[in-house]
């Protein structure tokens, strides 16, 4: 009898202490885009198909996570784990499952080929939030977020700039395979260039590989031979094309990450992905108890996409103004780049 009483008092005391700790402090309505650090660090895991330092797709998400972590207050607020180079879908699926099993709060499957696996995994872990990109489909699951980049928007702006800069009237595009994010960017670029100059000739070369750097260089060479005096491209093999552009002094437009460091003399601008915009929204929703069911798009309007100009490239003022006007037009809806599915 006495033991129960002692236990009961201890429990009561413990409960009171817990209530005092947990419920205290002022509650502020979080301003849109900022996060209040949780008491325990938020555990975020990322599964990526290429290296996190690829200066393209995977790096863009990794950099975003680092930026959000810093803003939230460092490792004590958010812990990041990642498994990169998981281009084997089955291995990636195992990693996603494992991170969920280990109790990570948010597991990011950063690769469109992972979606179909995620569809099977997510229902098994209702307490884990999953995020999947680049895509817009949450499969109707309540713990899956989806995110994508409207890369056609930055592509359009860069296409406009490229057409304005070109004196030969020929542009060159180097792509991997006509799928996903790559296709969106390229289509946007072509549309923007054509809008700026209906007589423009855009040579598009899909090399057939995401990784063959030498082939990308060859493709760039063929485009220059065909008269292109401005080049662009997407995917991790594109460094080969940048190298060729650098050797021949041809202006380059980049996407997915700021590619200025690859060739500071000829990179004009890059469409940079700021996934932080989406990550922060997702973390906010998780804090409020929503584990998924929403899809996000980064675009020029919400700052998720931005054109990063190379300060060392002397871009004529009128071209830059043209670009900024185009960006504004896209953001307010007056200009319509080709949307997927349209």
């Amino acid at each position: 009898m006495r033991r129960l009483t002692v236990t009961g008092i201890l429990v009561l005391v413990f409960a009171l202490v817990a209530a005092a700790c947990g419920g205290g402090g002022t509650t502020t309505t979080a301003a849109p885009g900022t996060t209040t650090p949780p008491a325990e660090p938020l555990k975020v895991a990322m599964v990526a198909p290429s290296a996190v330092n690829d200066l393209a797709f995977s790096q863009s998400m990794y950099d975003a996570l680092l930026a959000v972590q810093e803003e939230m207050g460092g490792e004590s607020a958010m812990q990041i784990a990642y498994s990169d180079n998981l281009f084997v879908v089955d291995d990636a699926a195992a990693a996603i499952r494992d991170y969920a099993n280990e109790g990570y709060d948010l597991v990011i499957a950063h690769g469109s080929q992972f979606g179909s696996s995620l569809q099977e995994i997510a229902p098994d872990y209702p307490d884990t939030a999953f995020a999947w990109g680049t895509a817009g489909d949450t499969f109707g699951l309540s713990n899956v977020f989806a995110y994508e980049a409207a890369s056609e928007e930055g592509g359009y702006v860069e296409g406009v700039m490229a057409a304005a800069l070109s004196t030969s009237g020929v542009l060159g595009v180097i792509g991997p395979i006509e799928v996903g994010d790559a296709a969106r960017y390229v289509n946007g670029f072509v549309a923007g260039a054509t809008a700026q100059n209906p007589a423009i000739d855009v040579k598009v070369n899909y090399t057939g590989s995401f990784s063959d750097v030498a082939l990308a260089a060859t493709a760039a060479n063929t485009e220059i031979a065909a008269g292109a005096d401005v080049l662009t491209g997407t995917a991790q093999m594109v460094t080969g094309a940048v190298g060729v552009a650098k050797d021949d002094n041809i202006p380059w437009f980049g996407t997915q990450a700021d590619q200025t460091q690859l060739a500071p003399s000829i990179v004009v601008a890059s469409q940079v992905y700021h996934w932080e915009v989406v990550i922060k929204q997702i973390i906010d929703l998780i804090d409020q108890g929503t584990m998924g069911g929403e899809s996000f798009v980064i675009n020029l309007a919400n700052g998720g996409e931005a054109i990063a100009y190379n300060p060392d490239y002397s871009l004529p003022d009128d071209v830059k103004q043209l670009a900024e006007d185009t960006a504004k037009g896209i953001s307010d809806g007056s200009i319509n780049p080709p949307r997927p599915g349209s």
Partner: protein
Amino acid sequence: MSEFFSAAALVTTIGAGIRYATSYLYAALGETFGQRSGVLNLGVDGIMLLGAFGAYYVVLETGNLWLALLIAAVVGLVMGLGMAFASVTLQAEQGISGIGFYLFGLGMSDLLFQKLVGTPRPISGFPEIHIPWLSDIPVIGELLFSHSLVVYGAFLLVPIGTYVLNRTAIGLKIRAAGENPAAVDTLGVSVAKVRYGTIMFGSMLAGIGGAALTTELGIFQQNLTAGQGFIAVALVYFGAWRPVGVMYGALLYGLVASIVSQLKTLGIIPRSVSDLASMLPAVITILALVVAVQRERQPAALTKPYQRGG
């Protein structure tokens, strides 16, 4: 279609094809020596990658291109030593040990790159050399006489290699080691020494091939070679173990790849069949062999470890 046959397009296409072929030509020539002596090295791709990273890192840190070539050669030699030890001394199954070296080179080069360099940073390559007077010849001049020393080096190795194999004592030993190692042994020549030599030499060339690739592209990244080492091995068979044949194979593959790329750019190959077109270099290489029915046999002792008295 007429755009393809304009002088500018043709020159670029052929020139690009030649440059594309350079790196795996080095590797293929090296592999020729190894196979002629009876050893198959499927790890060429991994050795190319390690050599490429070595060269890249040296250029990044010192800017010295020749030092970079040297380091790449040394890296190749070291990897060759390992491969020789596994294949000759330990008599490991050659095809498979090669795959092991490939995976090791692939992973190690990427790991070193991630830890020592981080994000891809550009390097400069070997400058184009314009051979005086010859490079002024219209069309041919730009096509043949305006490449970098690295490119010329690969093609110069062809006659040098042919001469060494066919007209020198060491070449005789190499060929004999590949055809009849027992006879070589009876004559007091160490089969093991010959094979160690050819494997290390071949790997050295593979490393240089990697250096050629990274300096040509001006960058390094994960899996830079994208399988070129395997193409190099395949070309040895195409060339019937003769350096000249290997060169033709390398040029065939490179030129087809380049032509396909040019046709894609010009829109002559529509985007809908872009991927099917990408397989043409491989298909045409096979077809070329089918058409030119080979009579050459492979070295009799190829892939068979040699055991004294056994």
